[in-house]
Amino acid sequence: MANLGPAHYSPYPVAFYDDLLTPPEGKALLLTEIVDEEVAMREIARVMLTSENATIFPGPQVLYAWNDEAKKKATLIKEMAEVLNAKMIPMYDYRPKYPKIDAEVEINPNHPNLTIWHNNIKACIFVGVHCHYANVALKMIRSETDCYTAAICGLSGHEDAMATIRDQHASEMARFIEIAKEVKKELGK
């Protein structure tokens, strides 16, 4: 089951078929393994810094200044993109885009594979996307593309991402940026 699909990861829902669940508090999930948060942060940074067209997909929770935390996170995500040499493509709402999405300027949870394909994105980070929409998008990307997905989640994480860290508030995101800087230095990027 786990080695099917273009990305060599399961196209099936991993919680239901593989019994792989979101990580416990204080931990992270790397593919099928529960690891320390810092281990996952380092791996996410490494993959983003070494993959073609690495892209951050910020969602509505950080695109709109609806509370102070959102403002802080938005500023940090901009810095994160600079540190990771990553592009940013927003998921600013969840409506399906018919007849055709502009895959150069946005990503949508109902057909996220189109944006991945069009921009040849090989690694990405979901951040600030409501969990349900992140989960459906991550499932689709997993089964339809060869893109490495990471989810930085403010709540309980996403087992359908290839790497996920949970309970990520502004302070944790600042820590991730510092770790990404170290990894970048190690890689000479």
Binding site: P13, F16, L21
Partner: protein
């Protein structure tokens, strides 16, 4: 909450708060749980006379334990109104039975996909003609494929505890699908039993609509000005894909609920006398009779095991398989004609030929312990008539 209750988390409420014993009906037990759940809104078309749960919930609304109570036109309206109210991020409760459940089913099966967190009481009742108000839990079979979490209460105490637990499970961000609490109408809802309850001065912490996997429809806050509902499927490959992964996500959410089943109701199964050659597997009211059969057997010096299934969805396949690993005969007594629990048990184990399909009663019949004992004697090659005499 208008009554100045002390708000506490569900772990404390269920596991630590001091309790006192009361002698009440199953319907009262469910409404007493609702009283302690900080429910914002109850909506119902009370299905008299199968269960008085929603009448009692109306009473506690009048006493100030619930903020809003809305009596809908009928069950489809009720269940649709629940879906609408959920978008505002409020805590919801409704209950129904048999024909009412089926009338609302079109809306109910859309709840998981719309990520509607709510608690649905199902006080089971015959659904097929001739019309009857007698208990029969065949209606639960229709919910088993809806995606919702399903708990099945054996007695009045379970009804109280499971209903409270359901409010916590349904709002977990990695679950966020409805939870039904079923129990047999009449046998449990109308009969009194001992129920240990915590003070009604305590109540479950109020919900945080922003701690959710979908945006709450707060039109004053910008992130909510985005569609949260499932897209209408059109005839193109993109729509098929989104519908496919959406269904996957609902069943993943259902599976994630299992860790909370362990947290709040001590796991999906209760196993007595594991490793016995003959095991009885039952849920709901049938579990009470199976428990009696287990006791009878022990008094007669016969080694029989008993498995009570508390959680029907997510289905505890691994736990069932482990509990029945060494069994030579499995007896599954049920209160319905199709044997939905029996089918699930047979599908869960590699040697389904050991499962006895019954005994089953339906149409409102009681389930005499003697029926289960007869199957036990048959399984052990004993002369049941001699022993019962």
């Amino acid at each position: 909450m208008s009554l100045n209750k002390k708000l506490v988390d569900m772990d404390y409420l269920l596991n630590e708060a001091p309790r006192e014993k009361h002698f009440i009906t199953g319907a009262q037990a469910m409404s007493e749980a609702v009283k302690r759940a900080s429910v914002d809104m109850a909506i119902a078309y009370p299905i008299t006379p199968q269960s008085e749960v929603m009448h009692l919930v109306g009473d506690i609304y009048a006493q100030g334990h619930i903020k809003e109570y809305y009596r809908a036109e009928e069950e489809l309206g009720t269940m649709s109104a629940i879906a609408g109210a959920a978008r505002g991020g409020v805590r919801l409760f409704t209950a129904t039975s048999g024909p009412g459940l089926l009338r609302g089913l079109e809306a109910i099966v859309s709840w998981p996909g719309h990520r509607v967190p709510c608690v649905l009481g199902v006080l089971t009742r015959v659904i097929n003609a001739p019309l009857s108000i007698q208990p029969d839990n065949i209606e639960m079979a229709y919910l088993m494929h809806s995606g919702m979490v399903m708990l099945h209460a054996e007695n009045q105490q379970d009804t109280f505890d499971f209903t409270l637990a359901a409010f916590a499970i349904t709002e977990k961000v990695d679950v966020y699908i409805p939870v039904s609490v079923s129990t047999e109408g009449f046998f449990v809802t109308h009969a009194k039993g001992y129920v240990e309850m915590m003070s009604e001065e305590l109540a479950f912490t109020e919900p945080d609509p922003y701690h959710a996997p979908v945006p709450a429809m707060d039109n004053e806050v910008p992130p909510a000005r985005i569609q949260r509902d499932a897209p209408v499927q059109k005839s193109n490959f993109m729509s098929y894909l989104i519908h496919s992964v959406w269904q996957q996500e609902i069943w993943d959410s259902n599976r994630r609920a299992m860790k909370y089943v362990y947290q709040y109701i001590d796991g999906p199964l209760e196993v007595q006398n594991p490793g016995s050659d003959v095991m009885i597997v039952a849920s709901g009211c049938a579990a009470a009779q199976a428990r009696e059969a287990h006791r009878y057997a022990q008094e007669e010096g016969i080694s029989v095991g008993f498995v009570k299934v508390k959680c029907i969805r997510p289905w505890p396949k691994d736990e069932i398989r482990e509990a029945l690993a060494t069994a030579k005969t499995v007896i599954v007594p049920e209160h319905n004609i199709i044997g939905w629990l029996c089918k699930e048990v047979k599908a869960a184990i590699p040697n389904s030929g050991i499962v006895v399909e019954g005994p089953r009663v339906y149409g409102g019949m009681t389930l005499p312990v003697e029926l289960i004992m007869t199957e036990i004697y048959d399984a052990l090659g004993m002369d049941s008539l001699v022993l019962q005499a």
